[in-house]
């Protein structure tokens, strides 16, 4: 069992007692993770915002039953991931790519060709991530960005470890195929540190 951070446990206890300030501190601690999970699954800011808000609201509603000896992070991530997956599966979901150029960050000290290739690769990767089935995308996001173990992912999504393993493997294979033209660049960068 994980022992929760005592400061966090105190915040959660106070939030459970009705302190909105304490809960706001909790929100502050996890907002980036929660929003990040949501965005990486739903792929649109407006929807990720809805999901993030709802995740915190639901966590707050269920605080009275939360065991303060357990870490809050995986729990809230699980809520956000499930809300996001439910959204993407819903008929209302109309996924469109993130706005062009949203991820533009030029790494200093690289040649123009590298920058162009990097930008292309990033766009390709964004597209490929968006094209993954949502189940694979969610598993990939929880593993790659949240670094959850297979057991944690299985628990979070209510699936078996074997399913986690196969979805993750398929997701990576698809991304690898999409990125094939750029993988040499990535390997060079990895070698260059």
């Amino acid at each position: 069992m994980h022992a929760a951070d005592p400061v966090e446990a105190d915040l959660l206890a106070r939030a459970r007692g009705g302190s909105l300030l304490a809960f706001e501190e909790i929100v502050k601690r996890y907002e980036r993770r929660v929003y990040g999970i949501a965005l990486r699954i739903v792929r649109r800011h407006e929807v990720a915002d809805d999901v993030a808000q709802e995740a915190f609201m639901r966590a707050h509603q269920a605080l009275s039953t939360f065991d303060l000896d357990r870490p809050f992070g995986p729990w809230i991530c699980r809520i956000a991931a499930n809300l996001a997956i439910n959204h993407v599966r819903s008929p209302e979901a109309r996924e469109t790519p993130l706005p062009e150029g949203h991820a533009e960050t030029a790494a200093p000290g690289r040649g123009a060709l590298d920058l162009v290739l990097e930008r292309e690769a990033r766009e390709m990767l964004e597209r490929a991530l968006g094209d993954l089935p949502v189940e694979q995308r969610a598993v990939f996001a929880l593993r790659t960005f949240e670094e959850l173990s297979y057991r944690e992912i299985a628990d979070a999504l209510g699936i078996s470890i074997g399913t986690v393993m196969s979805r993750l493997s398929r997701a990576r294979e698809r991304l690898r195929e999409s990125l094939a033209p750029y993988l040499g660049l990535a390997a060079r960068r990895a070698e260059g540190g």
């Binding site: 980036r32 269920a62 997956i85 993130l98 959850l148 690898r176």
Partner: protein, 357 residues
């Protein structure tokens, strides 16, 4: 049979293979440049994905905190301040005189909504079957609660859905041998706490009954009055008070909204469940509905979203009496009525009429 180990590389990379398989894959990799290259490429994919920056609009997290705070403030019990006895008595008398007829109205099976968020009426999506609604609430923290206390009053369906399925279902079964790295969120095995809650709820129920609200079924949009709040404060009944306040905020309109939540839920469902307690929240909801309609102009709920944006705007005006809200709502309403595909013109005209003095 494939002599390579490509299907195992992903789990190998994550250190998630059983020891025997891991050793076998490692042995294969030592003699197979093709699989070694494949593994490097998978690692490169992960590394590239991790390098993707998270795009966050400026000031977004402050706005998120503000939104969560406002939504929570809209559903929290009244602050427990000590007030002079005469003030409490006067408030109780006033509330009885003013709210009792309203309470009786709300108890009707289809009390028309004239407060809080406008109720879906014409053209509102058909009520979703329970299993559809549950699909989204599955996302609720699966926080198992202790066995229900014996005196715990039965909750209405709407309230149960709001609180989420997590409280109705046991946590997903986790093999006991597995390390509970993920909190099977909060298996709090505190039967004494459950007993205390039951006692607390019983005290509150008694207090409410003493104030004349015995037998008022919560599922009818029970709107406790400040007397109830007073009783809650006096009995220190925080848990019950929160639920009562949530029901009060939600009211009959919120219950109708729950029932009218469309199949599939998704973003529409998330917005439809929002309640508003202030002009700022109504504005936020209006903007969210506008964004929804903008994002999905030809979607199945676009018309409903446009209408709800107008109704939320009208609600913002009613709550804040800010002329800008009224002007914007009139403008939105006129634009809607000019649309050739407007399906709910009567409903929008009614919303516009509500803006008149």
């Amino acid at each position: 049979m494939d002599p390579h180990v490509t299907e195992s590389l992903s789990a190998y990379m994550d250190g998630e293979l059983p020891a025997r398989d891991r050793e076998a894959v490692a042995a294969h990799l030592r003699g197979c440049p093709s699989c070694s290259m494949h593994l490097e490429e998978l690692r490169a994919v992960d590394a590239a994905a991790r390098e993707l920056p998270l795009s966050v609009p400026d000031g977004y997290f402050e706005a998120l905190r503000g939104s969560v705070r406002r939504r929570l403030e809209g559903s929290r019990p009244a602050p427990r301040r000590l007030a002079p006895a005469w003030a409490l008595a006067a408030a109780a008398a006033l509330v009885l005189a003013v709210l009792t007829p309203r309470l009786l109205l709300d108890r009707g099976p289809a009390a028309p909504a004239s407060r809080s968020v406008p109720a879906p009426t014409l053209g509102a999506p058909a009520p979703a079957p329970a299993d559809e609604r549950d699909r989204v609430t599955e996302a609720v923290p699966a926080a198992p609660r202790p066995e229900p206390a014996p005196r715990q009053p039965a909750r209405p369906e709407g309230a149960r859905l709001q609180r989420g399925r997590a409280e109705e279902q046991p946590a997903p079964a986790t093999p006991p041998a597995a390390p509970p790295a993920l909190p099977a969120p909060a298996a709090k095995a505190d039967a004494p706490a459950a007993g205390a809650n039951a006692a607390r709820e019983q005290r509150d129920a008694d207090a409410l009954r003493a104030l004349g609200y015995a037998g008022v079924p919560a599922e009818d949009g029970f709107a406790p009055t400040p007397q109830a709040t007073k009783a809650e404060a006096e009995t220190g009944a925080a848990g019950y008070a929160e639920e009562a306040k949530a029901r009060r905020d939600k009211g009959a309109v919120g219950a109708l909204q729950d029932r009218a939540a469309p199949a599939g839920e998704g973003r529409f469902g998330l917005l439809a469940r929002r309640t508003v307690a202030s002009a700022a929240e109504a504005r936020s909801l209006r903007d969210a509905w506008r964004a929804f309609a903008r994002d999905q102009p030809a979607g199945p709920h676009a018309d409903e979203a446009r209408v709800r944006a107008i109704e939320a705007g009208a609600e913002a005006w009613r709550k804040g009496k800010d002329e800008r809200d009224r002007a914007e709502t009139r403008q939105d309403g006129r634009a809607y009525l000019e649309r050739p595909d407007a399906l709910q013109a009567d409903r929008v005209r009614a919303a516009l009429r509500s803006l008149e003095p």
